[in-house]
């Protein structure tokens, strides 16, 4: 016993001279956290303080009116419609293609130089600045495919955003699929399941929550993009859609909330500052709504599985 106690510190009680490095580190962590929270808090309170009065005063009128040169008659109807349509395009175009690409790369593609080359390039694509995608959209979807898409149209914008998020969808889905343990796959193959059965019945259900999380994050990103859509034809300022049908609108002028926000923030009238804040609130609500739907879906899926 005596030999053992000799190797211990003299006392088992807390010493007064604390481990100051540890305390400092702990403090630094807290400061970092507070800093992030403070920025978020400042942004949100600022936006709410300025935007909420507009929403209270204008009410539904703000949501149903198009942009106009007069602040009192400006609304975000076109922006909301455009943004929701962008969400539809991304969901319909980018999600299936991206998820299927991820399944192919993870489950089917042979592990060779070509596959690795493709993988590296998809990662690089995810890091390309969004303006570049705007140029891509402009040259391909607006100009080259103009006769099909109607030029600076909602379809061109939607396809541009779909292209923008495609690499992100692929990467996050592939990671979710890769996270499915090999033992699960082997268990399936061990009872005579084919690759298709293992993928459909075991891998995908297991990866679904991760895939959903990734796809929705990419959707939020798409809904917040401004720059690529400025290039790909979103209208900066007021425009009239007249009395076009839904299909006609797909092929004609459009705008999205971020572009509306950008537009209003540059206007000289002071009233537009408040309108900008109100539009930001609407955009935040839409994004939060998309995230909430995804979380609900994910939780339901996890339970049923």
């Amino acid at each position: 016993m005596t030999t053992a106690t000799r190797t211990l510190p003299r006392t088992i009680h807390k010493s007064g001279g604390a481990d100051w490095r540890g305390v400092l580190f702990h403090g630094l962590l807290l400061v970092s956290l507070l800093f992030s929270l403070l920025i978020l808090f400042t942004l949100i309170t600022d936006v709410l303080m300025r935007g909420l009065p507009v929403l209270q005063e204008r009410g539904a009128d703000f949501l149903t009116r198009p942009t106009s040169s007069s602040p009192a008659r400006s609304g975000v109807a076109q922006g909301i419609f455009g943004t929701l349509m962008m969400a539809v395009f991304v969901s319909v175009v980018a999600f299936p293609i991206g998820i299927m690409t991820a399944i192919y790369l993870e489950e089917y593609a042979p592990d060779n130089r070509l596959t690795r080359f493709i993988n590296v390039n998809i990662r690089n694509l995810a890091g390309v600045p969004s303006v570049v995608y705007g140029l891509l959209g402009l040259s391909i979807f607006v100009l080259a495919l103009g006769p099909l898409t109607g030029g600076r149209s909602m379809i061109a914008g939607g396809l541009t955003l779909a292209a923008l998020v495609l690499p992100i969808v692929i990467i996050t889905s592939a990671e979710a699929i890769r996270a499915v343990p090999r033992s699960l796959r082997e268990a399936g193959y061990g009872v005579g399941a084919s690759r298709w059965e293992v993928t459909r019945l075991l891998v995908l259900p297991n990866a679904a929550p991760g895939i959903l999380t990734g796809t929705v994050l990419s959707l939020s990103r798409a809904l917040g993009e401004t720059a690529p859509l400025l290039l790909a034809g979103a209208v900066l300022g007021g425009f009239s859609i007249g009395s076009r049908s839904f299909v006609e609108q797909l092929f004609s002028d459009y705008t999205v909330l971020p572009v509306t926000i950008f537009d209003w923030s540059r206007r000289p009238q002071a009233e537009f500052r408040e309108l900008t804040a109100a539009a930001i609130i609407i955009l935040l609500v839409i994004t939060l709504l998309a995230n909430t739907i995804a979380i609900v879906l994910r939780n339901r899926y996890e339970r049923s599985w």
Partner: protein
Amino acid sequence: MPSTLTAPTDRDDGSGSLPTAPPTSATRGVALRIERTAAEPLPGGAAGTDPDAEPAVDLRGVSVYYGSFRAVKDISFEVPPNAITSLIGPSGSGKSTLLRAINRMNDLIPGTRFEGEVLYHGENLYADTVDPVEVRRRIGMVFQKANPFPKSIYDNVAFGPRINGFRGKLDEVVEGSLRRAALWDEVKDKLRQSGLALSGGQQQRLCIARAIAVQPEIILMDEPASALDPRSTLQIEELMSELKKNYTIIIVTHNMQQAARASDFTVFLNMGEDRAGYIVEHARTIDIFTNPKNQLTEDYVSGRFG
């Protein structure tokens, strides 16, 4: 479905007193003749229970490569039906690789290459015309780490029959499989609970039930008890000796007592100087453990290396 099952060769099954010494338990009273060409890699044909009985599988000149690395080389042996054959040997001797070659599980690992033949009812399982998915239906597998699907106990067992287009009373298959896996009494009231909620030993028996639900002819077990406590291990071993009435079992084990207790035949593999696994000796388990022909075998089973 080739179901020309040969007559059970093992007439042991509890008749006679249970031996206390490990090396004899399952093999006592087995009337067998063995052409023993041990000590060398066997060129096609070694132990058979009954010389006329068709082996369950017959490995001929099997080599498996991972890329340019040869993991096992020129392995040949016959696996007698309705008996337990254990593969033992030190780490790196290619036991698992060899086991996984039998139901083409290695196909799933990129970069593996196979040479030789695995004959099953006279057909080479590696022939171009053979569907590996079908092979795995006939030759089931239980893995080292119990890997139930994250599904209910019922759905775990029903998974195989369902994907194989089983038409009939699924409930009966599930119950029968769970009974044969000696798990029914423990889970019959909670079939809808997740298979992952079971204990480790129960999970492994669930995996065995899942494997036998598709009615394979052969069950491969890759160290099925290595992660289990002694009591669960014993349960698995008892289960195996029960199952061999209907199935041929090939088991990889690190545990020599287990091989001695539970298996009828033993294949001892070692890692050669080129790091490829080869067969040192293949014989009845009782002979491997009590009367080995090869010095290496004796050293290994007596714990002097590996």
